[in-house]
Structures are given as C-alpha cells and as structure tokens.
C-alpha cells in the first residue's frame, strides 16, 4: 500500500519520466532486439571510423603507448614521393578498369540476350570465375602470364614478340586489369542481362516497322532502357576500384618499381611493412575526405541535371 502511494507521488513529481518508463515497457522487445546490433555497429564500425581520425594525429606505439604528434603523420604522407605515385597509379588503375572492363559486360549482355539457344550455358560459363576462390586465380594467372606460359606461347604462334606481362612496368597494371575483368565481369553481366531482357519486345517490333536498323534499335531502345543501371554500375565500379589493392598485392606486391602500388595498397604497406600505423590512418582519413568531396560534387551535379 505504502509503496503504491510512493509510486503515485513519484509519478506526479515527474510525469515525463514515467511516460518514458511506460514507453520503454511498451517497446521493451523493440529496443532489446536492436541492442546487439547497436553494440556491434558501434564497436566494430563506428569505433574504427572515429578512432582512425584520432590515430592519424598520433604516433602509434603498441608497447610504450601513443603520443600526440599533431599533423606530423599528414606531413609524412604528403611529402612521400611514393604517395604521389600511388595516387597516380590508382587513377590509372581506375581508368584502365573503365576502359578495358566496363563495357565488356554490357556488350556481352546484349549479345547473350540475342542467343536463341544455350543462353543458360553462356550465363553459367561467364559466372564460373566468380565461383573460383581468388587465391586460386592468383596462382593460375601467374602461370598464364609466365614467360613460358600459354599467353606467350600464343604470341609466339602468331609471330609476335614475347611480353613479360608481369615484370614489364608498362604491362603490369594492364595485366592485372585484364585478370580482374575476366574474373569479375560475369556478375555484372547477369545483372545487365536481367535488365536487357525486361525491355518490352514490342518496342523493337515498333521500331523495326518504322525502319530502324539493328544498331539504331540498340542505341535508341536498349541502351536508354538500361541507362540508370549503367550509371549505378559505373558509380559502384569507381568506388570499388578506388579501393583496389588485393590483386596488386597478391600478383606483384606493388612492383615492379612501384608501378602497381595503388593508394590502398600503400595504406597497408605503411601499416604492416613500415609499421607506421599513424601515417596509415592519416592516409585513410585523406582518402575518406577526397571520396567524400567527390560524392558531394557528384550528388550536386546529378541534382542539377534533374
């Protein structure tokens, strides 16, 4: 009896608090279900993101503890000639991926959509390299690109000069992009193919009656119909390739002569070879800032266009 009275008094004293308590009781399970996710997102995503900015201002020493060094890490990175080269390499890599890799799945999606038979087989075959573990591909492609491997055998048969695909600095990045295009285009192909197949067949019929040739049908019907998908895939590819480093690391370790040292690879080199975790964090922050600015500019530009 007494404690009920106390509760009533407490409720009168702080109506806000009790409303919150009631809300909490009503939504107890709702919040309880969210708590684990909030904890892991905070601990394993937000914490590293925020800590990265802190680490970028510190000299990291796992034994003696971290010390605040101001902008020293940024100075180290910005005065490193390899960092400038890494930025150029990353841009070159992104450009090559667009030039060599981007149009391939679009072209094949349109071609395969025209197959009357074996369409399923073509899809499965194109997707096959996505299924093979990437480490296997690294071993395989090292052999394919070998001076005594199949590519050079083919070149010899055609009467051309041998190419040291991996050790020749002007070929090394191209070799990596060819490998990645081969490995990855299947998944993009399936996505484009699904879109191409949803274009209503009647549109082609109508265009043909109006006298449009095949190229005109592709240019004025197929491609505009999948335009949004193409733009989305372009953005995703640019975001993805700007972070690329694993193939460069696995096939060539950034060499020969740093020609495949991408920015993301240099981040890892700073951390795990030079053990300069502060500078590595600073590079991460710089990359975040640049990508963020690009995203804002792109968003503004797109908003203006629409």
């Amino acid at each position: 009896m007494e404690h009920i009275a106390a509760e009533v008094r407490a409720q009168r004293a702080s109506p806000g608090k009790s409303r919150m308590a009631g809300k909490l009781r009503r939504h107890f399970w709702g919040y309880a279900f969210l708590v684990p996710a909030i904890v892991v997102f905070a601990l394993f995503l937000w914490m590293p993101i925020v800590k990265g900015m802190v680490y970028s201002l510190q000299h990291i020493d796992f034994v003696k503890g971290n010390t605040y060094v101001g902008l020293d890490n940024y100075r180290t990175v910005l005065s490193d000639p390899v960092a400038g080269k890494a930025v150029r390499n990353s841009l070159y890599y992104m450009a090559l991926c667009l030039l060599i890799g981007f149009w391939v799945p679009i072209g094949f999606a349109i071609a395969i959509s025209e197959l009357r038979r074996f369409q399923g087989f073509a899809r499965v075959a194109a997707y096959l390299p996505n299924v093979i573990p990437v480490v296997v591909l690294y071993g395989l492609w090292r052999w394919l690109y070998d001076p005594i491997g199949p590519f050079n055998a083919l070149l010899m048969k055609l009467g051309l000069d041998q190419i040291a695909f991996l050790t020749n600095p002007s070929w090394s990045m191209i070799a990596i992009v060819i490998m990645e295009t081969w490995q990855q285009f299947g998944s993009a192909l399936l996505i484009y193919l699904a879109a191409v197949l949803t274009v209503p067949r009647d549109w082609y019929e109508a265009a043909e009656i109006d006298g449009a040739g095949v190229w005109q049908r592709i240019r004025h019907i197929t491609l505009p119909s999948i335009r949004h998908l193409i733009v989305l895939m372009l953005l995703l590819q640019v975001i993805g390739t700007s972070q690329g480093f694993q193939s460069q690391l696995a096939l060539l370790d950034g060499g020969p002569n740093n020609t495949t040292m991408t920015y993301a690879l240099l981040i890892n080199k700073y951390a795990f070879t030079r053990l300069d975790y502060g500078a590595a964090s600073a590079m991460g922050v710089l990359m975040f800032v640049v990508l963020g600015l690009v995203a804002i500019v792109q968003y503004r530009w797109q908003a203006k266009e629409e």
């Binding site: 939504h27 399970w29 969210l34 996710a37 680490y55 972070q243 480093f245 590595a280």
Partner: protein, 290 residues
C-alpha cells in the same frame, strides 16, 4: 510470329546476308568468351595431373601427356587442408549465426516493432554503408587488437553482425511479409521473441539462404583480412593458408601447386552448379551492392 519470340533482332533481320554475318561474328565472340572462361578452369585441373617437366614444357599443352593422380596424394600430404577447411567453416557458421541473431533481430525490430526514434537508429546503421572500408582498414585492425580479439574467431563472428547491407536486405524482406500474420499471433498471446523465431524466421528462409551464399562466398574467398587478424596455423582459414603456403611458396613444384588449387576449386564449383538457380537469384540482390 508472336511478339515475345523476337529479341532486338527479328526473323526477317536474320534473313539478310549482312545481318547473318554480324550475327555469326557475335556468336563467335560469345563462343570465344565461353572458351576463355572454361580454358583456365580446365587447365588448372589438367596441370594438376601432369608431370612437373611436362607442365614446364614450352609451348604448354592443354591435356597431360600422362595422367598422374598421385599428385593429389602428394598435395594432400603437403598441407593439412581439412584443418584449414574446418576454420573456414567455423567462420562461416559463426558469421551466419551473427547475421541471423544480430542483424536479423535488428531488421525485424526496425521493420515491425515501430519503436520511437527508429529513424535515427536506422540512420546510425545505414551511414556506415557510405564509408568505404579501405579508409578505416588500419584502425579496424588496431581496434580488434585493443579489444584482444586478434587470433580468435570472435574477430570474425562479432563484426559479422555489423553489416548495413544485410540489414537493409533483411528489413526490406520483413517489410514485405503481411502484417496481419503478426497481429493475429500477438492477439493469440505470442511474445515478440516468439513472433520472430516461430513466424518471421521460418518465413524468411529464402532470404537467409541467399545471404548464406554471400556469407559463404566471403568466408571462402577472403584471404587478406584473415592473414592480418589470424596469425597461427591453427586459425588460418583455407584461402589464407593456400595463399601463404601454396601461392607464395617458390620451392613447391608447379604440378603439386595446381593439384592443390584444383582441390580448393572443385567444391565451390560443384556447389555452384548444383545450386545455380538460387545463387543467380541472390545476385540480383547483390546488384545493389555491386
């Protein structure tokens, strides 16, 4: 001729000689593409069955001169594949449990339980989708180190629940389940956990199956991140072990190398060919992610 029988090309197009030539060229390009996809795959398997001298001959040939299945026995003795495979499976199962329990519960709550301020919580999850992981890969590693999780499987299992992409996919799926079902369960006195485990989970088996394919592919493929987080033979997953002990080793004979690579390649390829339909369906979800 019905309208759905045609593609970009119609039957009358294909009767024109110039168009036939172009169509033939297109078929040749597709055939070449398929050959370039199948050649490396088959050559991996055939190389694993050659004598090492046969493999290093120039110009290389596709089929082995003589078949050496004993390469597989040598390869099997070279590294302890079952142990590494076990580690990969451990990572996969734990990551899947985290996806169901942590991400699944959160997605269910956001979709069904209408808690106040859920938009802010949703934003808290979703913003992480826009921050490229490479920009915080080093702090992420140091964070795991300071939490004392390095060289334990918890370093994979716990962060596996923190996937904004899977959360988005699951929430969209829960949004599409009819509300009445849950209302009637609640009227019958079912508690929220019961609604989740006995109603929502069984109904979302297809979506979890699709996510399982993604989670499996990541666990099977990922070699670099585990090579940072794990640092002993007992904890390396298969991909990392293959990279460290097969790809990076120069002394190992090439034919044994390829026999090992074949052994790692065949299981996922067989699984893919069997479950192709589901995997391809899952890809359309993946299209959002790229």
């Amino acid at each position: 001729m019905t309208s759905h029988e045609r593609g970009i090309l119609s039957h009358s197009d294909l009767r024109r000689p110039r168009m036939r030539l172009a169509y033939g060229a297109m078929l040749a390009a597709i055939a070449l593409m398929i050959a370039s996809m199948l050649y490396p795959f088959t050559v991996t398997i055939f190389n694993g069955l050659k004598l090492n001298t046969d493999l290093n001959a120039f110009p290389p040939h596709w089929l082995p001169r003589s078949w050496h299945f004993e390469n597989y026995a040598t390869a099997w003795r070279y590294i302890a594949l079952p142990g590494f495979l076990g580690n990969t499976l451990k990572i996969f199962v734990g990551n899947m449990v985290a996806t169901v329990l942590v991400t699944g519960l959160a997605a269910y709550s956001l979709s069904r339980l209408r808690v106040p301020r859920r938009q802010w919580i949703y934003l808290f999850f979703m913003i992480t989708l826009f921050i490229p992981p490479t920009t915080y890969i080093i702090p992420n590693f140091m964070n795991l180190k300071s939490l004392g999780l390095l060289n334990t499987f918890w370093a994979f299992w716990l962060p596996a629940g923190a996937s904004a992409f899977y959360l988005l996919v699951l929430k969209n799926f829960f949004d599409s389940i009819s509300m009445e079902l849950f209302e009637s369960a609640r009227i019958d006195g079912a508690s929220e956990p019961r609604c989740f485990f006995q109603l929502a989970l069984p109904l979302s088996v297809p979506i979890f199956a699709t996510l399982a394919i993604f989670v499996f592919a990541t666990a099977w493929n990922d070699w670099y991140w585990p090579s940072l987080v794990m640092h002993s033979n007992r904890t390396y997953p298969l991909a990392t072990a293959v990279y460290k002990y097969v790809i990076e080793v120069r002394r190992l004979d090439n034919n044994i190398k390829f026999a090992l690579l074949s052994m790692v390649t065949l299981p996922p390829v067989v699984v893919f060919l069997l479950f192709q339909k589901y995997i391809v369906r899952g890809l359309h979800l993946g299209g959002v992610k790229g």
